[in-house]
């Protein structure tokens, strides 16, 4: 098992830059998520780690060894493909044994090893079946089996749950995470589903437009988004953005929103112009008394909670409230914000302003 270090890796396809200089470190044994919308470069990054693409520049260290220009066969990395990439003309057993036979392992050892892995994954009974007729879950297990049978240094997974239907996905995600917990192998996992990333990941890298936007633990990224993109991408419903014109001084603890003073974490950085007041729906409180008011546009019942959509002087806003709270469409309600959880953004750059809250996360100027 191994640590993986990505250093200033860049990848171009002709004129198109898929990944701009990116750096991050994946610790030994971590379940590491590469998260971002489609086309953001996350899969390319993964493929570069695996050796399916060679980086245009930069270095990749696997277990201390620089491997960025080596072919995949010399990297000792396993890869689980989105479409599983099972060999369709072979049965389950042949699929599982393929990497072992390719390595030249003795026949008897191969058999023992494959049976071991099949037992771990609970697929002993389908070893003789052709992969064509398997259910999505079984295919997924076979694909995983083919990856773990080799005891590689690290696993790469490219949206391995993307091809499963929604109902089965949740179940498989748990299974996968449990497997990781048992094996403790370094895993790099690509997904575009923020919930999946939050649920499964030890660490997350959020990418957008070929750039790494933020790198951290799930809660950190949720609470302290470094950019508006991250704030928007993570969380459902996503963070409310209330744009306003104004200024905020270094050290300030309030901002002026449409004439109402709102508490914010102590700012470490001053700014003025087009700013954005970012607040998560669960940090919006509804009260009859609040001076900052909004009109209820819609309510969406979610069981324990409900999402209330309001029209405020700074635009639409969603609040998460307990399911029992009564809100009638058309009613005007006072709003309060949990000040210590608010993040301010510079609308032009999209970056969060440094504050007490995100100290140490947002470092740039």
């Amino acid at each position: 098992m191994a640590q993986i270090i990505i250093k200033n890796v860049r990848k171009e396809f002709g004129d198109f830059t898929a990944v701009k200089e990116s750096s991050f470190t994946i610790e030994d044994g971590e379940f590491f998520m590469l998260l971002g919308p489609s086309g953001c470069g996350k899969t390319t990054t993964l493929r570069m780690i695996a050796g399916l693409e060679l980086p245009t520049s930069g270095e990749i260290y696997l277990d201390g060894e620089e491997i960025s220009q080596k072919p995949p066969s010399q990297r000792d990395i396993a890869f689980v493909f989105q479409m599983f990439a099972l060999y369709p003309h072979m049965n389950v057993y042949k699929n599982l044994s393929y990497p072992l036979v390719s390595q030249g392992m003795a026949r008897r050892d191969v058999k023992a090893k494959v049976e071991d892995v099949a037992t771990i994954l609970g697929i002993q009974n389908i070893l003789k079946k052709p992969v064509g007729g398997l259910s999505g879950g079984d295919r997924q297990r076979v694909a995983l089996g083919r990856a773990i049978v080799r005891d590689p240094k690290a696993f790469m997974m490219d949206e391995p749950l993307g091809a499963l239907d929604a109902e089965f996905r949740e179940h498989m995600a748990e299974e996968l995470r449990a497997l990781h917990d048992r094996m403790g192998a370094t895993t790099v996992y690509v997904t575009h589903d923020q919930l999946e990333a939050m649920q499964m990941g030890d660490k997350i890298v959020v990418m957008n437009n070929a750039v790494v936007e933020q790198f951290g633990t799930p809660q950190e990224i949720y609470d302290k988004p470094a950019t508006m993109f991250v704030a928007d991408f993570i969380g459902s419903p996503s963070m409310n953005f209330l744009p306003f014109d104004g200024s905020v001084a270094e050290g300030a603890q309030t901002v002026d929103l449409q004439g109402h003073s709102m508490t914010v974490p102590r700012q470490m950085q001053g700014a003025s112009g087009k700013l954005v007041f970012g607040v998560r729906p669960e940090h919006v409180t509804l009260s009859d008394t609040g001076a900052y008011r909004g009109e209820v546009l819609a309510t969406e019942y979610l069981g324990t909670t409900q999402i209330i959509t309001l029209d405020t002087p700074n635009g639409a806003l969603k609040a998460r409230a307990p399911a029992g709270q009564v809100a009638t469409v058309g009613e005007k309600i006072g709003l309060g914000f949990k000040g210590e959880a608010v993040t301010l953004f510079d609308e032009n750059s999209g970056r969060a302003l440094r504050s007490e809250l995100n100290e140490g996360i947002v470092t740039h100027g």
Binding site: E167, Q199, P218, D223, S236, L297, A298, E300, Y301, T304
Partner: protein, 331 residues
């Protein structure tokens, strides 16, 4: 708009049961969502009402009329399909005009123009009217196909997972829009989905289907809070309800075989000590995966609460739902 009544509706395809003996009334102006996993018979119900499939048994009444022998055209329903409902060889305008020009409606020309423009305005696609249908984005396409249903004034709208092919953000927006349109037109809508969020947020009534049978029919709140079986209880709620042996926390409630505990119904700090397996930080809350006597239990916690995996946590049930051996709700 009209009321739709299903009486003992059944349909099978060879050996597989499509739907079996469904009785349901869709009141005039209601937004009814049929919920169930793949293969539960949701789409079949829709297709039976539209006339695309023929009934094996039972009756369907639309606006008081028994429609058994009518063709889809004669039933005067509008349907929005999951995908592929726009004709790729026509422009947006032609797509919208298509139902109006049918021999059954045979709308006069100026009337067509008026209606199409009206609907295009409502759906904010006026500027795309002369585009080829294939030149639209996914969201626009789905809006146009909803629009094609809206240009008509049918007895009932049937919608088959119209939002499922869209991405999460767009889905959220269209959900609200659809709800608003329904309210303003007072339309009767029968809507099929497997997405519980859609069911809960939009419906006036939810029907839960299981293997072709309608197992519960009521308001979303009713279904969430008072499910009549383990099956229904596990359809709604995320994370899913914990179904546990009735005696896990001491004596079983009378007659109960299993109890259902929604994650928010697990009280922390009292009761039996469970082991914390894993903590998922989801931002607005954390999910605790607990382990108690070989049973997995999921509960919610404050996002910043610090639980180390392997530590112990005392938990107790609060207002559990009780089910008998068959999985039916007792109380």
């Amino acid at each position: 708009m009209a009321e739709v009544i299903l009486k003992g509706v059944s349909k099978s395809f060879g050996d597989t049961v499509g739907v079996a003996d469904i009785d349901m009334t869709i009141p005039d102006g209601a937004f009814v969502v049929l919920l169930g996993p793949t293969g539960a018979g949701k789409t079949t119900t829709l297709r039976l009402i539209s006339g695309l499939e023929k009934l094996d048994a039972g009756e369907i009444h639309i606006g008081g009329r028994n429609v058994a022998n009518e063709t889809p055209a004669q039933r005067d329903v509008a349907m929005v399909f999951q995908q592929y409902s726009l004709y790729p060889h026509l422009t947006v305008r032609e797509n919208l005009e298509f139902p109006l020009k049918s021999p059954i409606l045979n709308t006069p020309k100026d009337e067509i123009i008026r209606k199409v423009n009206e609907v295009a305005n409502v759906l904010q696609i006026s500027h795309k009217l002369d585009n080829k249908a294939t030149a639209l984005s996914g969201g626009e396409m789905q809006r146009v196909s909803i629009g094609r249903a809206l240009v008509r004034e049918p007895q009932v709208y049937l919608m088959d997972e119209p939002l499922s092919s869209l991405d999460a953000k767009l889905r959220t927006d269209l959900r609200i829009e659809l709800k608003r349109i329904q309210a303003s037109l007072g339309a009767t809508i029968l809507y099929v989905t497997h997405d519980q969020i859609e069911a809960m947020t939009m419906a006036t009534h939810v029907g839960v289907l299981n293997e072709g049978r309608l197992v519960q029919y009521g308001t979303p709140r009713d279904i969430y809070e008072n499910p009549n079986s383990v099956y229904v209880a596990s359809r709604l709620g995320q994370p899913r309800i914990n179904i546990l042996p009735a005696d896990l926390f001491g004596t079983a409630p009378k007659g109960a075989h299993r109890i259902g505990l929604r994650p928010e119904h697990v009280t922390q700090g009292e009761g039996r000590a469970a082991q914390v397996e894993r903590v998922e930080h989801l931002g607005d809350h954390s999910r605790l995966h607990l382990h108690l006597d070989g049973h997995d239990i999921v509960t919610l916690a404050d996002p910043h609460a610090d639980y180390a995996p392997g530590s112990a946590l005392q938990i107790a049930p609060k207002d559990p739902l009780c089910f008998d051996a068959q999985g039916d709700r007792i109380y």
